[in-house]
Every structure is written in structure tokens, then in C-alpha cells.
């Protein structure tokens, strides 16, 4: 069981959360002309690193907020969590 520290609710079990994928993927700016390659990268291409990974989770059975989690994809160790508006370095 993973234990994730929700920035709003504190430490909670993994079962209360649902996963939202890589948090570093940036949506292209829709008010500009966007090359189709940029859309491909946004929609399909993923680094999927082995090691530290910043990802989105939603506290779906709690406060229902989206949060950012920095986690090791090889060991499942969680280093940091943050509100979705905050940066993880």
C-alpha cells in the first residue's frame, strides 16, 4: 500500500486516490498556431522515466482535489507532494 500525503488532508492510503499520469506534460497554447507534432507530443509521447517521476493524483475519496506527487517509479518511494498549482523541484 502506498501512503500519499494529501496537501489538504494529510497522510492517506493509496485506495483513496486515483492516478492522473505525468504532471510535466504541458498542453500547447490553444490561442496560437500549434504544429501537429506538438499535439502528438502532448497527447501520446511520454518519457516514462525510471526513477523520480512527477505525477498527478486525485484525492477522489477525500477532498477530491488534484495534487502533484513526486515518486520513484523503481522503488515506489514518495518524496514530495504539493498542490497542483505549486511546483515540485
Amino acid at each position: 500500500m502506498l501512503y500519499i500525503k494529501c496537501p489538504y488532508c494529510g497522510l492517506r492510503a493509496q485506495k483513496e486516490f486515483s492516478y492522473g499520469g505525468d504532471a510535466t506534460v504541458k498542453r500547447p497554447n490553444i490561442n496560437e498556431e500549434v504544429p501537429s507534432e506538438d499535439w502528438d507530443n502532448f497527447v501520446y509521447m511520454r518519457k516514462s522515466p525510471r526513477g523520480k517521476h512527477i505525477e498527478l493524483w486525485q484525492h477522489i475519496a477525500g477532498c477530491r482535489q488534484w495534487i502533484k506527487v513526486q515518486r520513484d517509479t523503481a522503488t515506489h518511494e514518495i518524496f514530495q507532494t504539493a498542490k497542483v498549482t505549486e511546483e515540485i523541484r
Partner: protein, 418 residues
């Protein structure tokens, strides 16, 4: 090579089975090969075998970080099927079914291919309609499909919950009678033994640390056991694809996730084929040893750990209990995990890359084992001829930018949901 038969078995019994030849050698890597296959799993071994057998390319090495049979080829739930709706997936896997049917004879190794059928259960009228459509598509591609009503399902799996108070009643199901299971280890060992016999070097405990690419052309690889020159390199590393892609400055439409499976203690034969639950993600079959082999969802987050967490096992088995209440009285023998190369449309990629001489085989999601022979067969063709075969002509990397996706389940890019 020593032929395996009842006579060789009797002959070796006289010497207490002490004088069997080694099944494959343990060579030191040469400095140069025509083709290097990275990844000694089922697909890599099959690729090397078909390169040697179909294309007479025998100066081949397989580079494996771990050992033969230690990765996903030894961790899957051994299901073989071709019950796909889309033409590209159906033709590809039905060609594979033909390879499976003759594999034990071809490899002189009993892979225990056992076509006992797979039943996908439906729990609503809408699901029955969807299965009728899929079954019709399969039959148009020459694949056997049979739509079963509730009574027909009951005859085949009477131990399932057919009571009135069940939350997801069984309406019927779609069956592929020619689907089945095989012994996964034997597939790896059989391919390894034949490939080795035809001159392929199987190099275990050798990690790839980098690539030599000059002017957009592959020249060789760097490994923990020295540099190896190669005219062509094939990547066949499933869940480790992104790690090697990063060394090549490539980004792929792949995420790596952990998938768990489990087996119960062995019991007497009660379940003939493979059954999948239609109201949750759960499938089950019974091994020849009597263990109930079960699996279901991914853990649901990016992971390179070959182990998962208990909440997923609990969730999957909750679905299992809803379908087969008798499971509640079985003890669990063991659980384990393997890392899946989840592609963004749920279908694999077997293609050339923008680097000349570098070929890619990945994106197998949950279902790499069933495609082991056909994946090796088509990948060997792609490498030897430097062009894709008709069978993998729609399994190309550029389909994600051209929009020709093979989203069999129509689930979009959330790989951890599909």
C-alpha cells in the same frame, strides 16, 4: 543437437539423466554481429530463431540483462487468443495461432499448447450486442467465434454464480474455442535451444549501456561486457523500452506500468478453459498443476518495480469472487508482478525507426505472450528485409501522428485504465 523424444528419455534414464547436452551455450560476446537483438525474452528469442530459420541470418546475438525466462515470458498468465475485432490485430494474431499450433513439433520442445477455449462473459444486453459484433468481425477474418447464451455458459462453467441475487448476472458470452494456454517457460526454452543450435549467441547477464549512432545510422551497442559492433539492432525489451529509448534520444507513445498476477493452491480439475469477467477486470484459468491462475488490472501508476501492491490484488479478486464464489475457500499460493510496455492505443508497435538499422518491437500492453511467435516472425522479417511485412504494416510507430490508431478497446490515452 540432441533430439528430445521418448527414446532419448529412456536412453538417458540409464545414466540417471546426468549426460543430457546443455540446451544452449553460454558464449562470450564476439566483437561484431550482423544483427543484435536486445532483450532475451520470448519475443527476442523468437525473433532470433526466425532470423536464422526464415532468413538464414545466423550471425546474431541476443543481449539479455537478466537471464532467459526471468522477465515477462516467465511472469505472464500463459493465455493465447486471437479474439480481436480490428482487421490488423485479428490477422496478425490469427497468423500467430497457426504458428502456435505447430510450435511443439517445430521446436522439438513440448510447449504444452492447449486450445481449451476462452469465454469473455457479458453481463448486459449492450455487452452481448458488442460481443456479437466482435464475434462477427472475427468470423469474417476466419477466426472461430461462438456467441453463447446464459444456458450455454452455464453448461460450460456451472460453478460460476448463476443465482438470482448476483449483482452482475451472466447474460452470455463470446467464446473463441481455438484459444487456450501454453507453458510459458517452455516457449522461451524451446526458442532459445533452437536459436542456439542455429548459431545464435545467447548472451545473458549483459546490460546495454549505450548505442553508437553515426550520421543517423546504427553502428553498434555498448554493453557491460564491452562494445559490440552490429549492422542492425532490434529492440525487444517490453517494459524497459523507455529506458533504452532515452539513451537514443527518442520519446515513444509508451508508458511502463506494473501488472500483477496470482495463483491459488492447486485443486482438482474444475475449470477447463480461460474465463474473463465482463463487469470488472478479472480473468482466470487453471494450470495443469491445478492452480487457479488469475490476473486483472494494472496497479495503475507508472512503475518499473516488478512487484505491486495489495490493494490491486484485493480489487481484482473481489471481481473474481463475484463471478466464482468458490474462490473464497482457496488459499493464495503466490503473487508477482511484471512491467508492461503500455502503448497509447493498446496495440503493439513493430517497425523501423528514424535511425537506419534500428528496429523497434514494443507496446505489448497486457498481451505480449500470445503474440510471441508472430511477433518474432514479423520482427525478423522487418529486420532482415528492412521493411515491414503485410502483417505488421498497420503496427507502425507513425500511426499516432497519422491518426490510424488501433484502439481495440476505445479507451484513449489513459494507459492505466485500459
Amino acid at each position: 543437437m540432441q533430439k528430445y523424444s521418448v527414446f532419448s528419455l529412456i536412453k538417458n534414464a540409464f545414466s540417471n539423466h546426468q549426460n543430457w547436452e546443455v540446451a544452449w551455450k553460454d558464449p562470450t560476446p564476439k566483437s561484431e554481429y550482423d544483427v543484435v537483438i536486445i532483450g532475451g525474452g520470448g519475443h527476442g528469442l523468437a525473433t532470433a530463431y526466425y532470423l536464422a530459420k526464415e532468413h538464414n541470418i545466423r550471425n546474431v546475438a541476443i543481449i539479455e540483462k537478466g537471464w532467459i525466462g526471468g522477465g515477462n515470458v516467465g511472469r505472464n498468465t500463459t493465455i493465447i487468443r486471437s479474439n480481436f475485432m480490428y482487421d490488423a490485430n485479428a490477422r496478425f494474431n490469427e497468423f500467430g495461432m497457426d504458428l502456435w499450433r505447430n510450435l511443439s513439433q517445430e521446436l522439438n520442445f513440448n510447449v504444452m499448447f492447449s486450445p481449451r477455449g476462452i469465454i469473455n462473459l457479458a453481463h448486459s444486453d449492450a455487452q452481448m450486442n458488442a460481443y456479437a459484433r466482435r464475434g462477427n468481425s472475427m468470423r469474417l477474418n476466419g477466426i472461430d467465434a461462438k456467441l453463447l447464451d446464459r444456458e450455454e455458459v452455464k453448461k460450460l462453467i456451472p460453478m460460476a454464480d448463476f443465482s438470482d441475487e448476483v449483482r452482475f448476472p451472466i447474460f452470455g458470452g463470446l467464446m473463441q474455442p481455438s484459444a487456450g494456454t501454453a507453458r510459458h517457460d517452455a516457449v522461451a526454452w524451446g526458442y532459445a535451444r533452437q536459436a542456439d543450435d542455429m548459431g545464435v549467441d545467447i548472451i545473458q547477464h549483459c546490460e546495454v549501456t549505450g548505442f553508437d549512432v553515426v550520421n543517423g545510422k546504427i553502428k553498434g551497442i555498448r554493453t557491460s561486457r564491452g562494445d559490440i559492433k552490429a549492422k542492425k539492432v532490434g529492440l525487444c525489451v517490453a517494459g524497459s523500452t523507455n529506458i533504452l529509448a532515452e539513451k537514443l534520444n527518442m520519446t515513444l507513445p509508451i508508458e511502463t506500468h506494473v501488472l500483477q498476477a496470482c495463483v491459488s493452491e492447486p485443486v482438482k480439475p474444475l475449470l477447463d478453459g480461460v474465463v474473463t469477467f465482463g463487469a470488472g477486470h478479472f480473468y482466470i484459468s487453471q494450470s495443469d498443476k491445478g492452480e487457479m491462475v488469475m490476473g486483472g488490472d494494472l496497479d495503475g501508476y507508472n512503475s518499473y518495480a516488478q512487484r505491486g501492491n495489495l490493494p490491486t490484488i484485493q480489487h481484482v479478486l473481489t471481481g473474481g469472487l463475484a463471478l466464482f464464489p468458490f474462490l473464497s475457500r482457496l488459499k493464495m499460493l503466490r503473487t508477482w508482478g511484471g512491467i508492461m510496455d503500455m502503448s497509447m492505443d493498446g496495440s503493439p508497435i513493430i517497425d523501423k525507426t528514424h535511425i537506419e538499422g534500428l528496429y523497434l518491437n514494443c507496446g505489448w500492453c497486457y498481451g505480449g505472450f500470445k503474440s510471441t511467435p508472430v511477433s518474432g516472425w514479423t520482427f525478423a522479417h522487418t529486420i532482415a528485409q528492412d521493411q515491414v511485412h503485410e502483417l505488421n504494416s498497420e503496427l507502425r510507430l507513425n500511426r499516432f501522428s497519422t491518426g490510424h490508431l488501433l484502439d481495440e478497446k476505445g479507451l484513449g490515452t489513459k494507459t492505466w485504465i485500459g
